[in-house]
C-alpha cells in the first residue's frame, strides 16, 4: 500500500491550490483549515459558502471542460496565479469525489470559455439558458430531424442595425424571455425558420428570421464550417454580442465571441 500512498503524495506534492468540484458539505469541511494551498470550490452553486468560488454555468460532462472552466475562472478572479500548480478533486464516475488530477494552470492555452459566460454583455444566466436551448435542440432536433440554429445574444441594438429581416418577425411586440419553458418550445418551433435569433442582454427575444450582414473581413474560423458559423463569427467581431450556433451537419454546439470560436460541445453528452 505504501507505493500507492507515495504515488498520491507525488501527485499532490507542492500544490499551490486545491480545486474541489461540487464538494459535499462534510467533504469541504475536511479541507477548511488548509494552510499551504488555496482552496477553490467549483460548482453550479455555492452550497458550502466558500470564499473562493467559481460558478459552473453548465454541467460539463468531461473533466477537462470542468477543469478548464474552473481554472480560467479562478485565474480571472485572482484566486490563483497563472503559474500555479493545481490539484483538482472531482467526481467523474459517481456522485462522490473519485478523481484526483494535477495540472499546471499555464498548461492550458486560455480558451476564454469563462470569459464567454462571465464577461460578456449579456447576463450569464441568459447565455446559459440559450446554450441549454441549443443543446436541447441538438439532442432531439426538430421533430426528429437535425436542425441548425443561430442565436446572437447581447448588444441587440447594434445587432439589429447590422441585420435585416427576412420576413415578418414572429416576436414583434411580444415580451418573452429565454429560460421560460414555453418560450423554449417556441424557440424550437421557430428554429425551422431561416436566419438568426436576436436576444437582448436581459434575455428578451428581440427577433427571429434575421439575416445578419456584418463585415466578415478578417474573421478566422476553422475551415470546414459553413455559412452559419461564418455569420456567427463575423457578427461577434463586429459587435459586442456573442453567438451560439447549432450546426446542422455535425450537430455540435459552438460558442463564438469576438470573432473567435471559444466553445465546442456535443449535445449528445448532456
Amino acid at each position: 500500500m505504501s507505493e500507492l500512498r507515495d504515488l498520491l503524495d507525488d501527485v499532490v506534492a507542492d500544490a499551490d491550490a486545491l480545486f474541489l468540484f461540487s464538494p459535499s458539505g462534510s467533504f469541504y469541511e475536511r479541507f477548511d483549515d488548509l494552510d499551504d494551498a488555496e482552496l477553490v470550490v467549483v460548482a453550479p452553486e455555492n452550497a458550502v459558502d466558500s470564499d473562493a468560488f467559481v460558478e459552473l454555468p453548465i454541467d460539463f460532462t468531461d473533466l477537462q471542460g470542468r477543469v478548464r472552466f474552473g481554472i480560467e475562472g479562478a485565474v480571472d478572479q485572482g484566486f490563483v496565479e497563472e503559474e500555479a500548480e493545481v490539484v483538482c478533486v472531482a467526481d467523474v464516475f459517481g456522485e462522490q469525489a473519485d478523481t484526483i488530477t494535477r495540472v499546471q494552470a499555464s498548461e492550458f492555452s486560455r480558451s476564454g470559455v469563462y470569459d464567454l459566460f462571465v464577461n460578456s454583455r449579456a447576463e450569464p444566466a441568459v447565455i446559459r439558458d440559450v446554450l441549454e436551448v441549443a443543446i436541447g435542440l441538438g439532442k432531439k432536433g426538430q421533430k426528429g430531424k437535425p436542425v441548425g440554429a443561430l442565436f446572437v445574444v447581447g448588444d441587440a441594438g447594434k445587432v439589429m442595425n447590422k441585420s435585416r429581416p427576412l420576413s415578418y418577425n414572429p416576436f414583434e411586440k411580444s415580451h418573452v424571455h429565454v429560460g421560460d419553458p414555453i418560450v423554449n418550445v417556441m424557440l424550437k418551433e421557430f428554429s425551422r425558420l431561416d436566419g438568426a435569433f436576436v436576444i437582448s442582454d436581459a434575455g428578451k427575444i428581440v427577433s427571429a428570421y434575421r439575416y445578419l450582414e456584418p463585415s466578415a473581413e478578417g474573421v478566422d474560423i476553422p475551415k470546414g464550417l459553413g455559412a452559419r458559423h461564418m455569420a456567427a463569427g463575423a457578427i461577434t467581431r463586429d459587435t459586442n454580442a456573442i453567438a451560439i450556433v447549432l450546426s446542422e451537419s455535425d450537430g455540435l454546439v459552438r460558442g463564438f465571441k469576438g470573432g473567435e470560436l471559444i466553445l465546442e460541445l456535443d449535445p449528445e453528452e448532456y
Partner: protein, 262 residues
C-alpha cells in the same frame, strides 16, 4: 326569533321523553363529531395543507407534541361539535336550571373556536410569508434586508391576534388605532419613497404595450441620442459609442422621444 327548545320538547313529549332526546343528542353529537373529524382531515389533506405547512415552526411545535397542524385543526373542529352537543343535551334535559348561563356559553363557544382557529391560521401564514419573502430576497446580499421578512411575519401575527381578540370581545380599539397608524405609515412612506418608480413603471407599461420604439431603433431622449438596447418597465437603455444611458421611463413622457430616421 328565539325558541325555547326545552319547553317545546316538553310539550310534545313527556319529561322522560326530553331526557331520552337529550341522550339521543349526545349520541348524534358523538357520531357527528367523528364525521366532522374525518371530513376535516380528508379535506385538509386533499387541499394540500400538510405540504403547505411543512417546516413552519408551528408545525414543528405540534409535531413535538405528537400531533400535526391538520390533526390539531380537525380535533378542534370535532371538539367543537362534542362540546356543542353536550351543552345542547344538558340544555334540553335541564339537569341544571341555569339557562342563561348555558345560552351565553353556547353563543360564546363559536367565537372561541373562531379565535383559536384565527390564531393557528395567523401563526402559520406569518411563518409561511416570512419564508416566501426571505426566499425572494435570498439573492440580495444586504444585511438590512433581513428585517423585511420579520416585519411581514409580525404584521400577520398582529392581524391574527387582533381577529382572535375581536372574537373574544376584548376591547381592541387601541390596537386598531395602532394598526391604522402602522398601515397609514406604510402606505404613506412607501408612496413617498417609490412614487418616482411608480411613475417610471406607469410610463414603462405604456412603452411595453404600444412600443413606440423598439430595440435597435435610434432615438433621442433628453439630448441623449443612441441606439435602444433594452426597454424595461422602469428604464430604457440607450447606447451611443461606448456610452450607455439608462433613462428612467418617465423622462419619455416629460420630454418626449425623438425617433431618428435617416
Amino acid at each position: 326569533m328565539q325558541f325555547d327548545w326545552p319547553e317545546i320538547i316538553r310539550t310534545i313529549f313527556s319529561e322522560q321523553g326530553a331526557f331520552v332526546i337529550s341522550l339521543l343528542i349526545l349520541v348524534t353529537g358523538a357520531v357527528l363529531g367523528y364525521a366532522v373529524w374525518r371530513a376535516t382531515r380528508r379535506l385538509l389533506y386533499e387541499a394540500g395543507v400538510d405540504e403547505a405547512v411543512e417546516g413552519t415552526p408551528f408545525e414543528r411545535t405540534t409535531r413535538s407534541l405528537g400531533t400535526s397542524t391538520i390533526g390539531l385543526v380537525s380535533n378542534l373542529a370535532a371538539l367543537f361539535v362534542y362540546v356543542g352537543s353536550v351543552l345542547l343535551a344538558l340544555n334540553v334535559s335541564q339537569l341544571f336550571n341555569t339557562a342563561i348561563f348555558w345560552s351565553r356559553l353556547t353563543s360564546f363557544l363559536p367565537n372561541l373556536f373562531v379565535a383559536i382557529f384565527a390564531l393557528i391560521v395567523g401563526l402559520i401564514a406569518g411563518d409561511k410569508a416570512k419564508l416566501v419573502v426571505s426566499e425572494r430576497l435570498r439573492s440580495v446580499k444586504v444585511p438590512e434586508v433581513g428585517l423585511l421578512p420579520e416585519l411581514v411575519k409580525y404584521s400577520i401575527f398582529y392581524l391574527a391576534a387582533l381577529v382572535a381578540l375581536g372574537q373574544l370581545n376584548v376591547a381592541i380599539e387601541a390596537l386598531l388605532i395602532l394598526l391604522a397608524a402602522y398601515t397609514f405609515g406604510l402606505v404613506f412612506f412607501s408612496g413617498l419613497a417609490f412614487w418616482k418608480l411608480l411613475a417610471a413603471a406607469g410610463a414603462g407599461f405604456y412603452l411595453v404595450l404600444t412600443q413606440p420604439y423598439g430595440i435597435g431603433d435610434e432615438v433621442e431622449i433628453d439630448d441623449r441620442r443612441g441606439i435602444v438596447q433594452e426597454v424595461g418597465v422602469f428604464v430604457t437603455h440607450i447606447e451611443n459609442d461606448g456610452e450607455e444611458y439608462i433613462v428612467p421611463n418617465q423622462r419619455v413622457f416629460q420630454s418626449g422621444i425623438v425617433r431618428v430616421r435617416e
